[in-house]
């Protein structure tokens, strides 16, 4: 029983990261119907941005977590956001109005480009790089389950950001404009909404969340490399599809579900840990066969 609870906790922690990344996929898809396959690299670059900040800190501050952690998070957020916004401006905006295959292939190209650029130019990035924990390693035991303080921090921060995003999209004027643009961009323009600005804001918001996810990943695993965005990106994409692509609540739900499925599969299936990266894609296939609109998605016809 406590083993099951332990794996559920592990799944939540994993899922928090997937959910944060999935939100970027789903928001961008909602606004411009693009699967941004380079979104995983935005997340990866967030981790590298955070690490760069930590390395730049004076030695005395590197161990002061209450100073280092906010700075590293901020650097991760800024890096990811800038990359996301430039990506939109340089790679996708010139292809607005092109057939949908063109931006999709471009996304894959951008993904490869960013991975290779970091691998070649970032010092030491040809292999894994150590990432500071930035959090003291204590844990508490709840009902026989050992939960690290870091795990609680990860889930709490992710959930707080998700709630803040929901509040922003539901109640702010810009959030309303985002929803209007997702439903009908031409009519949104007739309302005086600057569609390009909304698209930039959408990419930026996805960047903020991915940057946080990148830093949190580094803190949990103690190491990062240029390929972390590839697998995490695909799993987060699966999470977005599972929740219903374009649906913000769905992306969070899908993220947590994929995390839990992965944790449980690793524990309970024979040779489970060998297949830990496969469970998400089994889910993806099942969703595409049995419920292609996802758990919370509407049919495509209802959107049109």
């Amino acid at each position: 029983m406590s083993q099951l609870l332990q794996q559920l906790v592990n799944g939540l922690v994993l899922g928090a990261t997937y959910g944060l990344i999935a939100l970027g996929y789903t928001m961008v898809y909602g606004i411009i119907q693009l699967i941004n396959f380079a979104h995983g690299e935005i997340y990866m670059l967030g981790a590298f941005g955070g690490l760069t900040m930590w390395k730049a800190l004076p030695t005395g501050l590197q161990t002061k977590n209450y100073i280092a952690l906010p700075l590293v998070l901020l650097a991760g957020i800024v890096t990811s956001t800038v990359v996301a916004v430039l990506m939109e401006r340089w790679a996708y905006r010139p292809l607005r109005g092109a057939p949908r295959l063109a931006p999709l292939i471009t996304a894959i190209g951008v993904s490869v480009f960013l991975q290779e650029a970091v691998r070649v130019f970032y010092p030491g990035a040809k292999g894994p790089l150590a990432f500071p924990a930035l959090f003291t390693g204590k844990s508490i035991t709840i009902g026989g389950v050992e939960v690290k303080y870091l795990s609680i921090f990860v889930v709490a921060l992710a959930v707080a950001l998700m709630i803040a995003l929901q509040a922003f999209v539901r109640t702010s004027s810009t959030g309303r404009a985002m929803r209007a643009t997702a439903q009908d961009p031409d009519t949104a323009a007739l309302m005086g909404i600057d569609i390009n600005r909304i698209i930039v804001i959408t990419f930026a918001l996805g960047g903020v969340l991915a940057g946080v996810a990148g830093v949190l990943t580094g803190m949990q695993y103690g190491a990062i490399d240029v390929h972390i965005g590839y697998i995490a990106g695909l799993k987060a994409f699966t999470a977005a599809v599972l929740g219903g692509i374009g649906n913000i609540t769905g992306a969070m739900l899908g993220g947590f579900l994929i995390g839990i499925i992965e944790a449980l599969g690793t524990q309970y299936l024979p040779q489970g840990s060998a297949y830990k990266d496969a469970y998400a894609f089994v889910v993806l296939i099942l969703v595409l066969v049995f419920r292609p609109t996802g758990l919370l998605g509407e049919s495509v016809a209802a959107r049109a």
Binding site: R176, R179, A180, Q183, D184, D186, A189, L190, M191, G192
Partner: protein, 252 residues
């Protein structure tokens, strides 16, 4: 090739320059030219209507004025300023709002949210009062303000689309086929609203297939066929025109 379009006759405010001037406007979809050089004016305080059949180029003209489509050539001049190169969201800020063909309400948002979106570009604090004004004009919208707009009937959605367009306090309101698919009762309500709007000083450019209703309230009418203006004149005069009666009012 220019059509012999008569200059607009004297009407309200005709001594000043027209509020909206469309000059030799051409608009293409790829290789297909949908609007083939049309010229017309809208004077302040008038209701001007463009009538014509399906595919005549009426909607294309409105969408070009609103900045959703780019003109291949020609000019759109609003209050003395060229606007045909401006993006759509800036044209709204100039004072032109459109209620689009097919209503295009935001179905998954509430009625209130739709109206708030209509006021998106406004920074003043009169928005709340204007929302109340729309509820007064169309009580059914007020009663159902918290419901999803997609649950409204076609006629109610048209009211919402017009109310939403008015929320930006436009000086020129473009109405694209407001009577499309409506019952006769609902159609009368919509056209009486257009009259009411005019009486409050809003200038209106009305695109319609229902030529009878449109011409009977228009100060000036233009008949468009396959991208060109073939006839123009005061609404009442076109209503009596034999060619118009045959082509658009179903008389033999």
């Amino acid at each position: 090739m220019s059509d012999p379009v008569a200059a607009p006759p004297p009407a309200a405010g005709a001594d000043e320059q027209p509020m909206l001037q469309v000059r030799d406007l051409r608009v293409s979809y790829g290789a297909i030219e949908a609007v083939k050089g049309i010229t017309f004016d809208v004077h302040r305080g008038q209701v001007v209507t463009l009538i014509g059949g399906n595919g005549a180029g009426k909607t294309t003209t409105l969408r070009t004025i609103s900045g959703l489509l780019r003109a291949a050539s020609g000019q759109v001049i609003f209050e003395g300023e060229r606007i045909d190169r401006r993006p759509g969201h800036l044209i709204l800020r100039k004072g032109i709002a459109q209620s689009p063909e097919g209503r295009r309400i935001f179905a998954q948002m509430t009625i209130r949210e739709n109206l708030e979106l209509g006021a998106f570009s406004r920074k003043d604090d009169g928005v709340e009062a204007d929302i109340d004004h729309v509820y007064e004009l169309f009580p059914v919208l007020g009663e159902r303000r918290t419901q999803k707009a997609g649950t409204l009937s076609g006629g109610e959605q048209q009211m919402l689309a017009m109310g939403r367009a008015m929320m930006s306090r436009p000086r020129l309101l473009l109405l694209d086929e407001p009577s499309m698919g409506l019952s006769p009762i609902m159609m009368r309500k919509i056209f009486s609203t257009v009259r009411e709007l005019r009486s409050t000083g809003t200038t209106i450019l009305l695109v319609e297939q229902n030529a009878q209703a449109a011409l009977s309230l228009a100060d000036q009418g233009y008949v468009i066929e396959t991208g060109k203006i073939v006839l123009s004149g005061p609404g009442r005069q076109l209503l009596d025109d034999e060619g118009v009666r045959k082509a658009y009012l179903g008389e033999d």
